[in-house]
Symmetry: C2
Subunit: 307 residues, 2 copies
């Protein structure tokens, strides 16, 4: 089963305490689609400029990512310049040049319209909504967002959320969106918009899943080797939706496993700049780390000893 | 099996977004000993002033806490005045009056010296060390500390840590002590001092256990009803050491279960001011919440599906 992924494709300049890179491949659509490609076919929706290097198109193709929906427009590719300080929890933006992304109005190719598993990476919520409207029968729709849209287009975001199976937010976004500092209360508020599940991504502290009747607390991989956090959330989302599409079901057990898969993919993504770690990643690397995460959270039942 | 607990006994003035209280029972030794008393006998070491209300002594006695080692000195009881803002992750101190705690030099009663399970709550590390020196054959020693000692008595703290089975720190303290922002690296640094285990308490994000060959990630209870966070870390530690003493073994399985028990006790402690929630807590409340925390982290094995 293929997934449809819509998101930004970027050329980034960035600096972390471990080095500096110029014009490297980035963007939410890029990280999520390459991550998802380990589990399922991917149909990518996005836009790049004429300056976009052919080698990056070849990378998508080599990973089985269908780029029929990737528009190549006159102009320059979306460009982000930023840096991370020592603690690397927060990206600092120096400059954002939207370029061709500024006038992006996605039209799905005919072959994309029957897609059932959908990830709408961080984009204007009106654009995310227009993608949903072009789909014939989506089965499982996941969306991400960012603080900018929460501040500036909260109503559009709320409207979108009625159509979602899963809303992804990081902890700061969840607090901002809900006006609640307590994440359990924030999750209840988010579910009130109509999405079926919310996943709150907490970086080094793991992730929380909530629905009206489910709570799951996922650990993070104990990552010592953090080189570049860019795209962690997107590789999480790509692994998450890719695994669900592979299984072809979205019951609670599969969703929990998909969160662990997503966390594993994010943990690899941050071990090198851009997508470099994913270029060489093997399936056995993924399964070993999944098993390790399972071991990290196991503890025995209490039994009747206290009663 | 009894535990020996040494710590502060305080009368606190505090304010949270949910109310304001004056001269309420608090202190690290108080929260930890009452929490531990649900699992084992407790021998308390501490000091109070002549102003300390008899009803609080009666509370200790009613919970089976031996107060032979609680010295009643001329002067006033340790007093802390502080407040919590809306997010309640950080206590803000208005005033600390050490009073009788300022000249505290603990002498263990003869009946305390054979204690095997020990919790040294936050105190001057030199005083913590002097307690260890008075013990005949401690089997399992756990200690807590705070940012003040890390800043001002790091060498004394390092010396103490060579004698510990478990060092407890919160995430900020672990970062401060190690100079590492990455908690996995921070834990490795802390283990380098010679303690066998370190537990990094992360409040709403759970807790991490590390030894040279163990890593365990404990969830936090999904707490919506946070009224007063004072004493959360101490009730965690009390539940932790009390449960281990009850079992009479400190293998890795017991230590992991003890971390969950500690988290459960902390989650109850914060549901009301002072120790009020613990006054009415039942053992079945503890076991239900333990089972719920187990359910929160469970996910299925991956199986061979990706290979």
């Amino acid at each position: 089963m293929s997934v449809l992924i819509a998101g930004s494709i970027a050329l980034d300049d960035l600096k972390t305490p471990f080095g500096e890179r110029k014009d490297i491949l980035g963007g939410s659509g890029t990280h999520s689609s390459i991550s998802a490609s380990f589990f399922s076919g991917v149909k990518l929706v996005g836009v790049v400029g004429k300056d976009f290097p052919k080698e990056h198109l070849d990378l998508f193709r080599s990973k089985g990512v269908d780029i029929e929906g990737l528009k190549i427009s006159d102009g320059k590719t979306f460009h982000w310049e930023g840096f991370y300080e020592y603690d690397m929890n927060q990206a600092h933006t120096i400059k954002t040049d939207l370029n061709v992304l500024g006038s992006f109005d996605p039209r799905l190719p005919g072959s994309y319209k029957d897609s059932e598993y959908i990830f709408l990476a961080n984009l204007d919520p009106d654009i995310q909504m227009r993608i949903i409207e072009q789909l014939n029968a989506p089965k499982f729709v996941v969306a991400d967002t960012m603080n900018f849209w929460i501040s500036n287009k909260k109503d559009a975001l709320k409207k979108l959320m009625k159509h979602l199976d899963v809303m992804l937010m990081n902890d700061m976004e969840a607090r901002q969106f809900s006006g609640q500092s307590n994440l359990i209360k924030a999750a209840a508020y988010i579910l009130g918009t109509g999405c079926r599940y919310v996943i709150i991504k907490k970086g080094e502290h793991g992730a929380l899943l909530f629905s009206k009747d489910t709570h799951f607390s996922a650990p993070s991989y104990p990552q010592e080797n953090l080189i570049d956090p860019t795209g962690a959330g997107d590789s999480f989302a790509g692994g998450f939706i890719g695994y669900i599409a592979k299984k072809g079901v979205a019951d609670v057990s599969t969703i929990k496993k998909a969160i662990i898969i997503g966390s594993v993919m994010a943990s690899f993504n941050v071990e090198d700049f851009s997508l470099d770690r994913l270029r060489t990643l093997k399936r056995t690397d993924i399964t070993s780390r999944y098993d390790l995460m399972k071991k990290c959270v196991q503890f025995d039942d209490l039994g009747p000893e206290l009663l």
